[in-house]
């Protein structure tokens, strides 16, 4: 989907639809199966499988203790897959574009900038994890629960340092609030069709619980 506005709109609709009812979850899953590159659109399969595993464990515990664990699992899996697709499809600075388009050059710019920096941080943390693991391997340390604390401390401190540097850089460049940007979007016919179908998912979900 080339238009980020429609992608974000579809993501919200599909996630809401999946959460409202099991029928919506199935419909959202179907949408993901039909209209995305499926597992090819998962940016970090290992990370996603870890999250799915955690959700599955939570669902099992909930089911065993009398809760609706399986229904929770049914709802969360499509939400995660849709989120992974939306993340993998994103282009540089599009959140800033969408935010400015939605909320203007002052608040919209600030929120968009924060969102972009957050996503950049995620990407850098991923690189940090790789480097820290390599450094630990050089020392003969294996990734383990015991080594988790120094590893996490290293990553958090590096991220905080980077954030501080970015804040200083923005200040030096005269940023206080808002900014000038002219968002430009390309909307294809397919984008409109997929967003329309995504709109059907929460509607179906809503009618299913009535």
């Amino acid at each position: 989907m080339r238009d980020p506005r429609l992608r974000i709109f579809s993501t919200i609709l599909l996630s809401a639809g999946a959460f409202i009812s099991p029928a919506g979850a199935v419909a959202a899953l179907l949408w993901w199966l039909l209209f995305t590159p499926r597992l090819k659109a998962v940016p970090h399969p290992r990370m996603l499988s870890g999250v799915v595993l955690m959700i599955t464990a939570t669902a099992i515990v909930s089911e065993l203790t009398g809760g609706l664990g399986l229904l929770y699992l049914l709802r969360m899996v499509p939400i995660l897959l849709i989120a992974a697709w939306a993340f993998s499809d994103r282009q540089e600075s599009e959140l800033l574009d969408v935010s400015v388009w939605m909320m203007g050059k002052r608040i919209g710019f600030d929120i968009g900038l924060m969102a972009e920096m957050g996503l950049q941080g995620l990407r850098l943390i991923n690189q940090d994890i790789v480097q820290v693991r390599q450094a630990m391997e050089i020392k003969g340390m294996r990734p383990s629960v015991r080594n988790l604390v120094p590893m996490a401390a290293n990553i958090v401190i590096n991220q905080l340092r980077r954030t501080e540097e970015t804040a200083k850089l923005l200040t030096v460049r005269g940023y206080s609030s808002g900014g000038e940007i002219e968002p430009h979007f390309v909307t294809e016919r397919r984008d409109i069709m997929l967003a329309s179908l995504a709109l059907a998912v929460p509607l179906l979900s809503f009618f299913a619980i009535w």
Binding site: D128, Q131, V132, Q134, A135, M136, E137, I138, K139, M141, N147, P150, M151, A153, N154, I157, N158
Partner: protein, 230 residues
């Protein structure tokens, strides 16, 4: 003692073709920033997957210093950081110029100090194969000179030096360069010097003036220029 490779190392979408054989001595691998030096260094250290062969003969130990020293930190104090390498802080800290700083949080050190600490640790390990990825980055001239001295003192061992440094360089045994995702071994010094595309300006100028330096340091160039001018 020898390190031989015929492989394609991969890092995300980038792949690097390496075919080389390195014996005891200092081997400089140069190349542009982002050219693949770190990829080759990580592959040699066994930290990156590759297709092909990598053989080490007569090597009992190897160590690597990463380009960014902060990634090496796994302890809450400088003393413990040195101990995490299995070393004695009393021996290592004076070499790093950090005597009396043992109780300090490593993250409170500047990047240059952290780099000195990390390099002091890997040199103190004295491994048969030492892989140094950009060892001169973040260092001042005096610290760079010390690193050159430490490299020169590793006699009979293999030191792989991956760097784009253009001024402070140690005497080396061979030159290699990476360009267009391929490692090119230029051969032993001094014969390889004229073929070195990434030669620093002082060396290039000396070659233009007809000098024939015996090695790549500024001292060698000065000596060669003096000989040329009589």
């Amino acid at each position: 003692m020898r390190a031989e490779m015929d492989l394609v190392a991969r890092q995300e979408a980038f792949s690097l073709r390496c075919r080389a054989s390195y014996g005891p001595g200092v081997h400089l691998v140069s190349g542009a920033i982002g050219g693949g030096k770190t990829t080759m260094a990580l592959a040699m250290a066994g930290l990156l997957p590759f297709d092909g062969d990598m053989r080490f003969e007569g090597l009992a130990s190897k160590a690597m210093s990463l380009q960014f020293p902060e990634y090496h930190v796994t302890a809450a104090s400088v003393d413990d950081e040195v101990r995490s390498w299995g070393l004695d802080p009393g021996e290592v800290l004076p070499r790093a110029g950090l005597s009396g700083r043992g109780a300090v949080d490593p993250f409170k050190l500047s990047r240059g100090q952290l780099k000195r600490l990390n390099l002091a640790c890997v040199f103190a390990l004295d491994p048969d194969l030492l892989i140094l990825d950009e060892p001169f980055s973040s260092l001042d001239c005096r610290a760079k000179a010390k690193v050159c001295k430490a490299i020169a003192s590793r006699e009979g061992k293999i030191t792989m030096l991956f760097s784009h440094e253009r001024a402070s360089l140690p005497r080396v045994s061979t030159l290699s360069q990476i360009s267009e995702a391929r490692l090119e071994c230029l051969g032993a010094v001094p014969d390889a010097i004229p073929r070195w595309a990434g030669a620093p300006p002082y060396l290039r100028r000396a070659l233009e003036l007809g000098a024939e330096p015996r090695n790549i340091t500024m001292d060698d160039v000065e000596e060669a220029l003096c000989a040329t001018r009589g």
